[in-house]
C-alpha cells in the first residue's frame, strides 16, 4: 500500500426526512420516512462524480471511516472506500445509506408508527429491493444528484445496483454488481427460511412486537446468524481456519463447546443478536428471496435487462457457493445479449461469499482499474 492510502477519517451520519408518501411494491405505503446516510469526498460542480454504495443483509450507511469518538467503529467497506483506495474519495463523492426497514436509524420496524404511537414491529410493511431503490432515488434528488457515476453493491447490494440500472436507466452510468445473483436459487431461499423460522419460533418474538415486552428474540437471531455465517464461508476456508481443532484440548463428552468452530459460531451469533434487529433480519431476507427482475418477463433475464443503459462490472469469487460464479455469469450473458457494456472477473479467493468484503489484491486491482476508467 502506498502512503496515499488512508481513511476518510471521522464520518458524520445525517438523516434525510421525506414527507411525501412512498408506495411500496408489496402494495403498502409509507406516509413519510427517514433515511440515514453518510457521505465521503466532495460532490463536484457538475454533480457528475457521485457513487452510491448499497449495503447487504447486515450492513448499513456506515461504509467508510470511523465515527467520532469511536475509532474502532470502522465502516464495513473501509478497505475499498477512501482517499487513494479503489473507490477513491479524492475523485468520487461516495454516499452510503441505511435502507428502509433497517435498524440503524432509517425508518424501520423499530421506528414509532404514527398511527399507533408504538414501534411498527411486525406491522412494518415488507419492503423489497425495488422500494429501497425508489427511496434511494429520493435521497439522490435531495442531494442534487441527477445521475450516479456508479452504483455499487455486494450480494444483496449488487441486486440494488442492478435494480437501479433497470428502474432508472438514465440516472446511473455504471453498475458494479459484486458477488450477487439475478435471483436466489431454491437452496439459497431455503437457508433464509431456516433463519426466519429460528426467529419466528423464538418465544421472545411475540409476533414481532417484542419491543413492548422488553425482550428480543436473541436465540432466534443468534441461530439465524449462525446458519448465515456457515453459508458465507467456504468449506476450504473453514477447514483452514478451524479444522477439527478443540477448544479445550480434549473432547468433553458433553453438549458444551468441543470444537473451535462451535465456539466461533456461538460468538458470532451472540455478537450479532446483541446489536441487530430481528424484524429487520426477517424483512431483509424476504427482500433477497423476492428479487427476480426476470419474473415479469417469463423468466427471461435478457428481456428483463433490456431496459438497462449502464455499463456493468460483474465480479464473483471462486469459492462463493451462496452466490456462485454461475449466477454472476447469468447476469453477464443477459447484458451481452442486450449489447450492453460489461466486464466480468472471477476472482480466485478462498473466503467464500465473504470474499467481497476482503481486500484480495486481484479483486481490488480490478475494482481500482474500473473506477479509474469512469469519467466524472
Amino acid at each position: 500500500m502506498d502512503d496515499t492510502t488512508d481513511s476518510v477519517g471521522a464520518a458524520q451520519p445525517r438523516c434525510a426526512q421525506f414527507d411525501s408518501p412512498l408506495i411500496l411494491a408489496g402494495g403498502g405505503m409509507l406516509p413519510a420516512f427517514d433515511l440515514v446516510y453518510e457521505t465521503y469526498g466532495e460532490l463536484n460542480a457538475a454533480r457528475s462524480n457521485a457513487v452510491l454504495v448499497c449495503h447487504a443483509l447486515s450492513g448499513n450507511h456506515h461504509v467508510a471511516g470511523c465515527h467520532a469518538g469511536n475509532p474502532k467503529d470502522i465502516g464495513w467497506w473501509d478497505n475499498l472506500v477512501g482517499p487513494g483506495k479503489p473507490l477513491d474519495t479524492r475523485k468520487f463523492f461516495v454516499v452510503g445509506v441505511n435502507n428502509l426497514g433497517g435498524c440503524y436509524g432509517s425508518t424501520g420496524p423499530m421506528t414509532v408508527n404514527p398511527a399507533t404511537g408504538k414501534p411498527w414491529g411486525a406491522d412494518f410493511p415488507v419492503v423489497v429491493v425495488e422500494d429501497w431503490v425508489a427511496a434511494q432515488a429520493r435521497l439522490a434528488d435531495r442531494l442534487g444528484i441527477e445521475s450516479w457515476a456508479a452504483v455499487i453493491g455486494g450480494s444483496l447490494g449488487g441486486m440494488q445496483a442492478m435494480q437501479w440500472a433497470l428502474e432508472y436507466p438514465e440516472r446511473i452510468r455504471h453498475a458494479l454488481v459484486i458477488a450477487s445473483a439475478p435471483k436466489l436459487t431454491a437452496q439459497n431461499i431455503a437457508f433464509n427460511e431456516v433463519a426466519r423460522q429460528a426467529i419466528l419460533t423464538d418465544p421472545d418474538f411475540h409476533g414481532g412486537h417484542y419491543y413492548g415486552h422488553g425482550v428480543v428474540p436473541a436465540r432466534g437471531l443468534r441461530l439465524a446468524r449462525m446458519i448465515g455465517h456457515i453459508t458465507y464461508l467456504s468449506d476450504d476456508q473453514m477447514a483452514e481456519k478451524f479444522g477439527r481443532r478443540l477448544r479445550q484440548g480434549d473432547l468433553r463428552f458433553s453438549y458444551d463447546v468441543d470444537f473451535e468452530i462451535e465456539s466461533y459460531l456461538r460468538y458470532q451469533g451472540d455478537k450479532f443478536a446483541g446489536y441487530f434487529d430481528a424484524n429487520t433480519y426477517l424483512i431483509t431476507t424476504k427482500a433477497l428471496d423476492y428479487f427476480d427482475p426476470a419474473r415479469d418477463y417469463g423468466g427471461n433475464l435478457t428481456a428483463a435487462l433490456a431496459r438497462a443503459r449502464a455499463r456493468f462490472l460483474v465480479v464473483s469469487f471462486s469459492t462463493d457457493w451462496r452466490f456462485a460464479p454461475e449466477r454472476s455469469r447469468e447476469i453477464v450473458y443477459g447484458l451481452v445479449h442486450n449489447g450492453l457494456g460489461v466486464s466480468y472477473a472471477e476472482i480466485e479467493c478462498s473466503a467464500g461469499h465473504d470474499s467481497f468484503l476482503l481486500d484480495d489484491p486481484r479483486y481490488h486491482a480490478v475494482m481500482r482499474a474500473y473506477f479509474e476508467g469512469i469519467r466524472t
Binding site: 451481452v336 466486464s343 486481484r362 482499474a369
Partner: protein
C-alpha cells in the same frame, strides 16, 4: 499480450470487419485488438480471456472482457449473436480445436482465425535437422510452450473440409510480407475468414 505481428495482424482482421459490428475476441489478451476495433471501426466488442492478469489489463484498457475458460466452450452465448468471432494467434493454445471452431461459427456469422503455420519452411528445416522449430512465430521451447496443438495450413484446411466449414478468405504472411505462392511452405502466419455454407 505478446502479439508477434503487432498492429499488422490487427489491420488484416479489421479489414474484414464492418463498422458497428458485434465482435467477440477469444483469448483477447490485454484487449489491444478490441481497443483498435473499437477506435477504428466503432465495433461493439467483447473479449473472452481466462488469465486474471490479462482480464485486469483489459479493464485498464477500457474494453469489455469476460473471464471464461475457452476449453469449457461458449455455451453461454446465443446462436448467431456476433457478426465476427475472432481468435488471433491462440487457436493453437486450445485443446478442443474442433469443438471451438464449431462454437465460433454457432455464436458468430463468421469466424476470423490466425495461427502460426507449423508447415513453414523454417519449421520443416528445423524438424529435418532433428529439432523442434523455434522461430518468430513459434517463439517457445518445446518444454515451455503454451501451444498444445501443432498444425499446418494444410492440416487446418483438411479439418475445415471435414467439418463443413467454408474458407471464405485466406491470407499468408511471412514477417509483414504477404505470401502469394505455396502458402503452406512460405507463410509463417495464416489468417482465415471462415463461414458456414448457406443451409
Amino acid at each position: 499480450m505478446t502479439n508477434v505481428l503487432g498492429r499488422f495482424d490487427f489491420d488484416v482482421i479489421a479489414k474484414w470487419i464492418r463498422p458497428g459490428e458485434k465482435v467477440l475476441d477469444l483469448g483477447c489478451g490485454d484487449g489491444s485488438l478490441l481497443r483498435y476495433l473499437k477506435d477504428e471501426k466503432g465495433v461493439l466488442g467483447y473479449g473472452a480471456e481466462n488469465d486474471p492478469e490479462k482480464v485486469l489489463a483489459c479493464v485498464k484498457n477500457g474494453v469489455n472482457v469476460i473471464q471464461i475458460d475457452l476449453e469449457a466452450g461458449l455455451s453461454g452465448f446465443e446462436d448467431g449473436f456476433f457478426d465476427h468471432v475472432v481468435m488471433s494467434l491462440s487457436l493453437q493454445t486450445v485443446r478442443h480445436t474442433e469443438r471451438l471452431l464449431d462454437e465460433m461459427l454457432r455464436v458468430g456469422r463468421e469466424a476470423v482465425v490466425s495461427f502460426p503455420n507449423f508447415g513453414h519452411r523454417s519449421h520443416r528445416e528445423a524438424i529435418a535437422r532433428g529439432r523442434m522449430p523455434v522461430s518468430k512465430s513459434l517463439p517457445y521451447q518445446w518444454y515451455n510452450s503454451p501451444n498444445v496443438r501443432f498444425f499446418t495450413m494444410a492440416d487446418f484446411e483438411a479439418l475445415c473440409a471435414e467439418r463443413g466449414i467454408v474458407l471464405r478468405e485466406r491470407l499468408g504472411f511471412d514477417g509483414e510480407a504477404t505470401v502469394t505462392e505455396d502458402l503452406n511452405l512460405n507463410a509463417s502466419i495464416a489468417v482465415y475468414r471462415l463461414g458456414r455454407a448457406p443451409q
